[in-house]
Symmetry: D2
Subunit: 410 residues, 4 copies
Amino acid sequence: MDFTMRPKAQEILDKVRRMVRDEIIPLDHEFLAEVGKGADRFERTPRQIEILEGLKAKAREQGLWNLWRTKALTGAGPDALTTVEYAQLAEEMGRSHLGAEVFNCSAPDTGNMDVLARFGTEAQQRRWLDPLLAGEIRSAYLMTEPDVASSDATNIALSAVRDGDHYVLNGEKYWGSGAGDTRCGLYIVMVLTDPEGDKHRRHSQILVEPGTPGIEILRPMEIFGHDDAPHGHMHIRFTNVRVPADQLLQTEGDGFLIAQGRLGPGRIHHCMRLIGQAERALDLMCDRALSRTAFGKKLADLGANHDIIAESRIAIEQARLLCLKAAWMMDTAGPREAAVWVSQIKVAAPRMAQQVIDEAMQMFGATGISQDTPLAHMWMNARMLRFADGPDAVHRRVIGRTELRKHEAG
Amino acid sequence: MDFTMRPKAQEILDKVRRMVRDEIIPLDHEFLAEVGKGADRFERTPRQIEILEGLKAKAREQGLWNLWRTKALTGAGPDALTTVEYAQLAEEMGRSHLGAEVFNCSAPDTGNMDVLARFGTEAQQRRWLDPLLAGEIRSAYLMTEPDVASSDATNIALSAVRDGDHYVLNGEKYWGSGAGDTRCGLYIVMVLTDPEGDKHRRHSQILVEPGTPGIEILRPMEIFGHDDAPHGHMHIRFTNVRVPADQLLQTEGDGFLIAQGRLGPGRIHHCMRLIGQAERALDLMCDRALSRTAFGKKLADLGANHDIIAESRIAIEQARLLCLKAAWMMDTAGPREAAVWVSQIKVAAPRMAQQVIDEAMQMFGATGISQDTPLAHMWMNARMLRFADGPDAVHRRVIGRTELRKHEAG
Amino acid sequence: MDFTMRPKAQEILDKVRRMVRDEIIPLDHEFLAEVGKGADRFERTPRQIEILEGLKAKAREQGLWNLWRTKALTGAGPDALTTVEYAQLAEEMGRSHLGAEVFNCSAPDTGNMDVLARFGTEAQQRRWLDPLLAGEIRSAYLMTEPDVASSDATNIALSAVRDGDHYVLNGEKYWGSGAGDTRCGLYIVMVLTDPEGDKHRRHSQILVEPGTPGIEILRPMEIFGHDDAPHGHMHIRFTNVRVPADQLLQTEGDGFLIAQGRLGPGRIHHCMRLIGQAERALDLMCDRALSRTAFGKKLADLGANHDIIAESRIAIEQARLLCLKAAWMMDTAGPREAAVWVSQIKVAAPRMAQQVIDEAMQMFGATGISQDTPLAHMWMNARMLRFADGPDAVHRRVIGRTELRKHEAG
Amino acid sequence: MDFTMRPKAQEILDKVRRMVRDEIIPLDHEFLAEVGKGADRFERTPRQIEILEGLKAKAREQGLWNLWRTKALTGAGPDALTTVEYAQLAEEMGRSHLGAEVFNCSAPDTGNMDVLARFGTEAQQRRWLDPLLAGEIRSAYLMTEPDVASSDATNIALSAVRDGDHYVLNGEKYWGSGAGDTRCGLYIVMVLTDPEGDKHRRHSQILVEPGTPGIEILRPMEIFGHDDAPHGHMHIRFTNVRVPADQLLQTEGDGFLIAQGRLGPGRIHHCMRLIGQAERALDLMCDRALSRTAFGKKLADLGANHDIIAESRIAIEQARLLCLKAAWMMDTAGPREAAVWVSQIKVAAPRMAQQVIDEAMQMFGATGISQDTPLAHMWMNARMLRFADGPDAVHRRVIGRTELRKHEAG
């Protein structure tokens, strides 16, 4: 088990770290404060465009672009990063709000680009993959539905019926993350094509152009009351939406297969970004503990505060190492073998981040949940990730079954 | 130890329960959805006024008004409720967002009214207590300051200097809850009158009319990004604010004394309202567990869900009983003896509520953190109460010292 | 809900408290240190007999005898204690190792006496109940079996086949607590009489004289390596043991019915004794925190120790109140309604005690797990009670189902 | 960061694993069951000698001897194992009770041998190091004292006064692990040589021959009531014990320096052995979950059991990775830099093991705490390690201070 960064990767890491610290974090707050200043919360303001596109240009100049294309994904050649290496970059990006997008590494685009690269036709790739790789459009992945427990993906019910050389889509999706973005140029939609088929061959994935007639954006879903504009987690209704049949990914029934490969790396990225957020929360916690005085002492020297800081450090280190292990499994044993490791981090990392950020908030007093620190925002993100890409309970189920299977065999 | 409700109190409880369930909860969502529809987020909309004043009128008609005036507070006569009895009413009110205000029982008004009733002059009472009791104005209690660790109240620094028959106030307060409300007609302000005096005689409390020249509302403090309009937790600057000296409460140096008596009952009310919220979260959790299906089973029958429900039940019962014990101490031994019991519930109840609501959110999947349930709102309220009226660490310190003192003596 | 002690009960409580503190605790250690000094670990030494019988005599003299006979059990008359009152006595007894037996209130005898009083014939009562009430013999309750998951009592398999006017018993029981005691004069045995019958009518309970031919004591079960001599938790084999048919309790098939009523009060007693142990652990913790110095400070003033003490206090109070609530339900609503409350405390109290005692051990450093404090012994007892009378998971299942049933109905 | 085993180390690992599984574990129980069968609990029985020496001979034959001599310790040459490699061997050894001693890798001997190799004179090494390396004698490390909080080592008070060419020792030590062993041929004793000196130069370490006149073994300290014979954690009194001055290690005042270097690797070994124990507990838990039936289902399929197994797996993996990280720091950055990492695992690993073993016990029902599984024994060992080599609180303090120091600088 080897988590070493090669010198070349280390060099990239240093650049990413510097850019996050010196250029991105200083603009995060201003970017977020712009939300709602335009006519429409989901229309980016000129200043938001200036901030983001400016940073993207700088990233591209330094070659810090599409770094997610690891060997395990669609990367190739001796220079492609390993998942272990990229994970450490993702941690740095996670310290800032805008980081992932600046380096064209944000969810759900990376997963969608990977799907297109693996499973798309030449035509599909030219139409959607190229502008995604260029950072010109963004995309959404529509899986979760309001009326069924989507954590059991066999429940997915949005119907796609073949009619001539089109599929006709009817149903609803929600939590379509990124679908609020005015630049969103693609939905990858999990649909039910064969309701009577074998449980894991009933579904397909289809590429849908936003704005196709019959698509109605009902509302943004809110996370603790926030619409997360201009990104947005949209609730979308499909009513007789006609999609050309050549926009299907692979063949009918491949929906599960495609979905399965898609989620592993994305979960590692999410988790490593959370590690970055937890580190930042611990930084803030320590700074506050040293700079604030009560009862005649620094907060650091009061009560359990040393212990809280120590436990936060231990928790972060353990979660990071487990993420790296999952990344290493992805690199060396492939996504199928890595899956149970990814489930482990999907349980461990968001919970850890939630806990560490919560302690940081507490160290700040009421300021910790206010607009004066980024902690509340970070906490909500961590909390949301205990649902996104599968709730904890489903991942624990996977881990438990895998463990028991070893003993059934023996 | 006796937590019995007398028949008369039980009758009130039944009425409150019915009104909360049948009339208030059904309007909560509409009231909240109105926020931001007016010109100013802090200006109540006509529909908000209609909802709230309508409910208040109904409450008053049924005699469900100012129920907080227990014997332990300014109530009197054989009919006054005990703290134990009122606590059980507060639980019911807590199940809804508007409940407390509908019955003229909301924070910080109840504490402020109590202070006026105990410590106010006749003139002060006529000017502010009467309209508060009538539900015509609201009030704020300005204690916390941005620049000092206010959990140690000896740090409070907003200066009040005597100048003729006025005090001149300079400094800042934040988290002035309720100061955003356009009906807010009174600030009770903790001020530093004698910086060189004995540590517990340096401060005073003074009644300030909002809008007095020199008062500047800088911004609402946000709780997880929410301004809590039209209530508001305001950040306020005082610049040479001249306040008539007869608006001082009692005499100079009594600030601590007044503060100490004020917080105990309010904390019990907060905690009991949280019990109500936790009960509602458990209701929602169970309903979801029974109505949603995954992997061929009701959620209720999957994995640890029975255990989660059981642990939630145990946690709620324990917290409620401890709150009742604190209330009983307030009734029978008085606020000084009750203080350490109040500290216990102040640690236990918000944490419990936070945990139970968190589990309820998780049972719902991502819907649990969305606008489709009241859970996210309830969770943020519980989280905030781990700071409000003293952070957990300060209360634990009080409890620990009390415990150790028994052994030092022995 | 009323937990008040009547003056008469309070008087008894004061006497019990004094006797535990002044006479029993000072002899606990010597009693335990005698174990193994005789020829046989299960033969009480002369000094053990002297200690125990001396204390029993003193208890009887003061009328502190068979206090467990509450109204809810076989007590009667206006003077009988309520379960709520007795629970508070049990807490005091629990502070010492010998307490419960000194007052003739120890498990499993109280449950067995209650069963005999309710369900025994006149002849059965004269033969076994009278000497049990007099503290002359002791008894065991044989339920758990090594080969089946006995937490699901329908699994119980020890066979009792009618043969003329005898039953012939074959099978094994283990964890027969008290069966190691040389004074043990009765086994109440749960047996399978009708393997094909209705699931809850298959079993019966039968009174068995220890020493009946065919009974073989295989070994004492060990708790963390301790045989708990001279009490003992025995593993017993029955081979063609012939028991007169008139020793059956009630009629065939009543086994469940009898078992059900038996366990509720016993669990309350166990839990309240654990509260007593937790209080004693907290006492010890505080004393150590004040008397030991490291890094130039009292332990009390180092790190999280105030917080640990505070959390222990909160945890004990909550568990005690919940136990009293369960006792109050037993008194006012009866055992069937109280059952789910008993399940709640059965989960909450041992876990709480285990946690508080664990923290106390940690405060002592390695001394905390050594023979120099009673903490290790107390901890093992608390841990054992997470299995005895039903493991946590089974109780959580009961609570969860009860909670869900409220919502299924609604 | 690289945790790779070189092929040669992997080969050793495979051999160790096989020997532990096939030869050591099958004899563990018999060895332990022999305790107390001789005249003296601390006199090994012939069968114990046969078992242990037989296994040691087999280990030596295969070259599995003194494997602890890593490069970071006194090992040298290209073939010496790294700490990372040895840690993985220690995990395997930890699965069994006798494992560590079979490979001559048990505490406190490894630490003592290392001290002798680094700091001993030629004469000291010939007299004590050689027979220790040969597995002919064993040793104890006497640090902890009953009368002072020894977690703060500056408290150590056992006095050594120079008198001619001897030191005269007076005082008490307890928890002298291994001092009960009849083969114990050396005490390394931390003594106070200069009470007035600089805080970290007051102490020295001296080599003492057991049986020197004036040494009195008062009693074995018990761990949850167990004397851990024939190893023993002895309480020892020194009364005017005259020790030749040339048995001092290095020079007067070096006591701290020697102690500091000693404990790091030993803690890593302890923690990795606990990982092995936790893995074995999880194995047992899974086997039980699959083989036992209640309420018509395998335990595995009841309630939270999948979740419990999953959480155990996650906890073990995280702790193992953190131990390997600490080992890697020891290898690459040296003991001073590694210290805070060692503190992290010292907090995390015993707690994790305690928790996983506790869950395993619970899965077994009461059998889990009985002599029918090794779980209770393993649990007590894990619990003890939350004190041994520093209690959790002291390690958290180290971690917290290190973390804060980063921020004080910045």
